[in-house]
Symmetry: C2
Amino acid sequence: MLLAPRLAVFLPVWLFLSEVGAKVPRVAHPGSKQAKYLASKRPQTTTAQVSGSFTGSGWSASAPEVSAPYANVWQELSNDEAADVIAFLHNQTDLNLTAAADAGSWDNSIMRVEILTPNKTDVLPFVDNDQREPPRWARAAVWVGATIEPYVIEYQIGPLPISSDSVLTSLDWLTTKGTTYQRNYDADEDLTSEFMYNVSSSVQDIVTDLLNGTASGSDDDDLDIWGIDPLWHPTPDTTVQWVTFWRIPSSIFDGETLMPQGLYFEVNTTGRDPSGWSVIGWLYRDVYYNSTESFRAAWEAGELEKSTLNLEGPWIGSDYRGPTTKVGENSTMWASEKAPPVMVPPSGEDGIRYKVDVDNKYVEWMDFSFYVAFRRDSGVRLFDIRYRGERIVYELGLDEALAHYAGNDPVQSGTAYLDTYYGFGPYAFELLAGYDCPTYATFLNSTFHADEVSTTHPNSICLFENDQGYLIQRHSDDAYVASTKNIAFTVRSASTVGNYDYNFDYTFYLDGTIEIVVRASGYIQSAHYYGNDDYGYHIHSGLSGSMHDHVLTFKADIDILGTSNSFANHTVAPVTTSYPWSHGMERSTMKLFRSYLDNEDNAKLFWPGNAHSMFMVVNKDAPNEFGEPRGYRIMPSKGSGMHATIQNSSNLLNSMNFATHALYVTKQKDTEPRASNANNDYDTANPVVDFAAFFDGESLDQEDLVVWFNLGMHHVPHTGDLPNTVFTTAQGSMLILPHNYLLHDPSRDSRQTVRLDYNDSGVQAVHTFGADFSNGLVNLSSVVPDFWAYRGDIDVRKFPYDPQHPYNDTESIV
Amino acid sequence: MLLAPRLAVFLPVWLFLSEVGAKVPRVAHPGSKQAKYLASKRPQTTTAQVSGSFTGSGWSASAPEVSAPYANVWQELSNDEAADVIAFLHNQTDLNLTAAADAGSWDNSIMRVEILTPNKTDVLPFVDNDQREPPRWARAAVWVGATIEPYVIEYQIGPLPISSDSVLTSLDWLTTKGTTYQRNYDADEDLTSEFMYNVSSSVQDIVTDLLNGTASGSDDDDLDIWGIDPLWHPTPDTTVQWVTFWRIPSSIFDGETLMPQGLYFEVNTTGRDPSGWSVIGWLYRDVYYNSTESFRAAWEAGELEKSTLNLEGPWIGSDYRGPTTKVGENSTMWASEKAPPVMVPPSGEDGIRYKVDVDNKYVEWMDFSFYVAFRRDSGVRLFDIRYRGERIVYELGLDEALAHYAGNDPVQSGTAYLDTYYGFGPYAFELLAGYDCPTYATFLNSTFHADEVSTTHPNSICLFENDQGYLIQRHSDDAYVASTKNIAFTVRSASTVGNYDYNFDYTFYLDGTIEIVVRASGYIQSAHYYGNDDYGYHIHSGLSGSMHDHVLTFKADIDILGTSNSFANHTVAPVTTSYPWSHGMERSTMKLFRSYLDNEDNAKLFWPGNAHSMFMVVNKDAPNEFGEPRGYRIMPSKGSGMHATIQNSSNLLNSMNFATHALYVTKQKDTEPRASNANNDYDTANPVVDFAAFFDGESLDQEDLVVWFNLGMHHVPHTGDLPNTVFTTAQGSMLILPHNYLLHDPSRDSRQTVRLDYNDSGVQAVHTFGADFSNGLVNLSSVVPDFWAYRGDIDVRKFPYDPQHPYNDTESIV
């Protein structure tokens, strides 16, 4: 999907365009081999009727129903709402819109429409005090191409449903820059791509000699061309980019990012007139050539030693391989073909222990309840997470995902993805039941609206209970054994943003804890090894596992017994001190030191060494009966909460201020709903939302607080990342856990506990507290995945609105 | 079990003694109410025949058998071996031994016998080069009580089986002190206990007034007395201890450590003559009284304000409670009685995917194999962990567990448990199938030999596969979805050392990773709240959740392609630099810096802030074909690898040098097999093994390396720790993971992977690579726990040896 209106002409062509070119579609060519390969797999009609039933709200009949206490005010626009908004926009003649399907890069068109998340200060009176429901508003991103300085701009439209009262107004109030206006310095991607292929063709003899392939824009190309993201602007009006050659897989495997070829060129693509564009220089084996002519001269002089090429082979495939490799050939994997243990729901649908309001995406499990929402930029978000009837978290979700690379070559050095530019929503594909989630999970759909098409990912959010494989509580002595099962509830989605697959879990535990987990799998983006010794490992013939930092920034708007909260730091530290009883001797011991963050200026935090500080959101005015303020703590679990290595990135400039620390605390403001903006990528020196601007000295003493925390990893891929990174070692998680919140461990209130009393004569009594032990039969065919039920995305054209003819059409960033 | 020979007279009495007194049995009284309660549950005969079959080697018929490639040379002594060693010791007239069952504190007796772990340098020639099997030797700890300066000493006995060649020799070579001789400054625990009860009785009117109970040694006492561990030695020959009063639960619940009463006294118990013992002072509400008389005078003057008492109530019970508490009363826990999802083995015993040699405790799962051993001090240990036929870890196991408390009162301030003093082996009780481990797990027994009794914990080690609940690999695009199940194999045990339950997991993953997990549940040891504001939270009426550090030190003897290894540090760090292509501009970016630890003097390490360094054991001389040294990385996963807050503990002095840093690297030496010693607790200024002595400047360059790493938590218990700490938030884990070790991700060699090819017409092909999908029926009764099969420990008397009359008798530290 991407920002597809930047692509030209008509639907089938931009589909191809957005298919190719790794995470940088702007330099892909519609005629590339990969595009043709993909096109060959696509049915020729784009209006094929979707077979089977499609309700737009999921296949969740199995979970018991519950009525949400109030409507999901955060829910994405319905198909009808989106169509209404798009029609309304087309009626605004000032916008001079062309239908997306007909729009070229010199037209104005609608990039996307979405719900405008209502202000917290409007929602709370509705939810907590029975005030009127906040009116729904939409937001729209519009591409303005009919100008020499093309730009993107965002509007708000409402109230919905569209009526004579509905208006189109500015969204500038949501930015720190003061305007949503965002100049696009790379508006003509089709022409840029053509230009690059022309450059390549001009040295096709050299490319063929060095890389054993062609990148000319013709059908039988072996090589693709793309490079840095974001583009560089050495001066405010200049656009410069380094690109390189990548080998296009001939197999189905999506391994282009494993085959960089080690030849680079830099182009100046400033402005919209290709006649002014130029080649700045070439780089090969660490030697810079300041013109195509000097590069050619070196080649002709025989000065260019050939690098090892990264060629396709079984090594890029993720299929079962078997123990055939040279190293580690003693693999046996005895019995790996046998079905492994599998989790089953003991009582089938009758035994489901949670309730769902599918229409409102509202869920109740044990003592938790929450609403699920979905956004084009960030995917799944949760709202109004309550525990035992009290709100704990108002909003929880991803805000931005940075992947910052480094390298001796300009393409790796210049790459620093801000993934919400691409969006996690468009790539939150259907989950594979039995693999991504248990077969017995409840699956929900998700929808986004881009380029005047509404796309629904069926079964893209799953909800399930499972046993965590270890107890939550145990104690045994010589008289009894007490044990409580650790059953948890998970909301899961997965987004494949180009090469990487991100798995997102929100897991709820019986002790009142919420865990946020992100895991990474899929293909790494690699580098040609030449000269890159200091930037990664040599992992295949000519390949470097290009080092990079993943920093995923989450927003946790924590509310403890209302919105007047403080942020406490309780630190364990060594002290030397004497006591009334120590006979005058100093003792080397430790103490607990308690303090609060006073204001935002001090609220950029690191996790302390040796984990000796506890951070928590508490309500000072709501102490428990023993005088301790009730609160929820935030604590890294899997991996370490981390931040970016690079603090002043030459690529990201002012657009990575959310990644400089491990966590941040700010006062909640309706005007600061998100730490980043999808359009920041266009001009990183002048981001639409600069997170640093949130820190303006406001008090954090009994205010409405938001915690922004980072998960991620410093990823230096090694051979074990081939062909794909594994989730097991590439994961991070954060716990939001009760801290002096209740008066006892609430898992005591679950009946999934047992006590055996025993002595030397054996077990004397068994206490099971009313728990059922199902002992019927489970047919394992009920948990065998139905692979053939997997579908592509389901699309509905919006302008003209054609809801009766949905069609399957899935798009990824290849 | 403990060091029971320190207890006197005859078997039934010392059983009672070791039953009471939290983690400090030395101050418990045999006549206490708790002891009587427990005694009432014990059958009167100690020679009751164990019902059912008992093989001494487990109930593991279900796992397919395999023959270990060589005998488990690390395996604990068999019952027969232990009996032989004990008989041999009794034949050494120089030792002047009294049978343990008859021995008093002024006799000499055998504390414990155990296998002497063979030297690595003796084992490797046998295992790797078909040299002769190293002879088995035993070690024995002997209590020498028949002296005014009683001590403990250890010997080695061998070779086994006992023959005319067998000898008794010194074990001094295993110490850093140069001798295993360890003076015991608290040899007469029965008399110490009597003395303390006499002190309490001398102020019984005050105790009754202030604490509403009695601690007199009589049958109907409400209160128990015990205190610091280890004892203090203000001068080398002086023994001083602070003790306090604890309320004895009248219910079955083991919650004495939740009921401290806030009154403290200090006694001098130097030497073996109680007539020289004295009360040093009293402490109540932070006021110190330097004699019993001055304390009494203050009470008589009405100067003693009464503190809130910690009294028994349902709050100490771990049973199902239901939503009845005041705070959080909106709990519903809807459907918590319904059976939750449960993992099942799809094909029953026919489907088991691992093999076990039960006699040798040898296991093969997928591409891993290893031997399981068990030790009195540390519980489960793994040896010769191989992956694809190559040794990765020679030895992996717990070495010591520190729990260091702090407080305003002398008992919390003075408490710093070294838990191997008590031992993890004696308290590794039977695991509850269906709760601690899946019902389909393979269960092994474990045995230790103390006080001339061999005790077997049936089913105390479990082995099982399970699905980790998320994939190990996935990638999807618009043409295919590829997914691999994350099936892992776990070895689990749990030890309840007094109040705390430690769960230990060793988990093996398909990508070649090993994870070591420790979790804590059970009862906290708490403090009376008065004056303890700076040392913990106020969590119940008069209760402080006494702050403490858990530091669990593990030994990982990692071998990568032989024993010539180096320890690498690969650090990701920001740099500013220019490039041939950067037009003279400096760029803010990052690099990977590679270095090695040169020698032990630099080998005490912390995990760096922001996790920016990777630590790994590599073999420099075994690079892969791309020139990268093959290795295994060590990386914290759950929680943070941490170390103790206190660096120069007034309690532990020279006995916590393993806890000052996050991890350590040393050269492997046969004389340095363990970072600590169970007898260090007797005299912490002069430990038998001082870990600091391991660091003597030896080279770490291509040497045999051992990594010692710490897991744990800074635990400041809050209300959610009542009644028990929960595993979910009290856990830490470490990953030992391949790093440039193979040439690809080895999970590709598992058949539990699938690829779906699809397009807009639906799924076009399903690739399942020979994996079975069982679709028969599973009878859930097969996974319903059989609670009534739980047993106590099984004991066999050793001197005289009586193998035909095992009896059930489980002992815990209450």
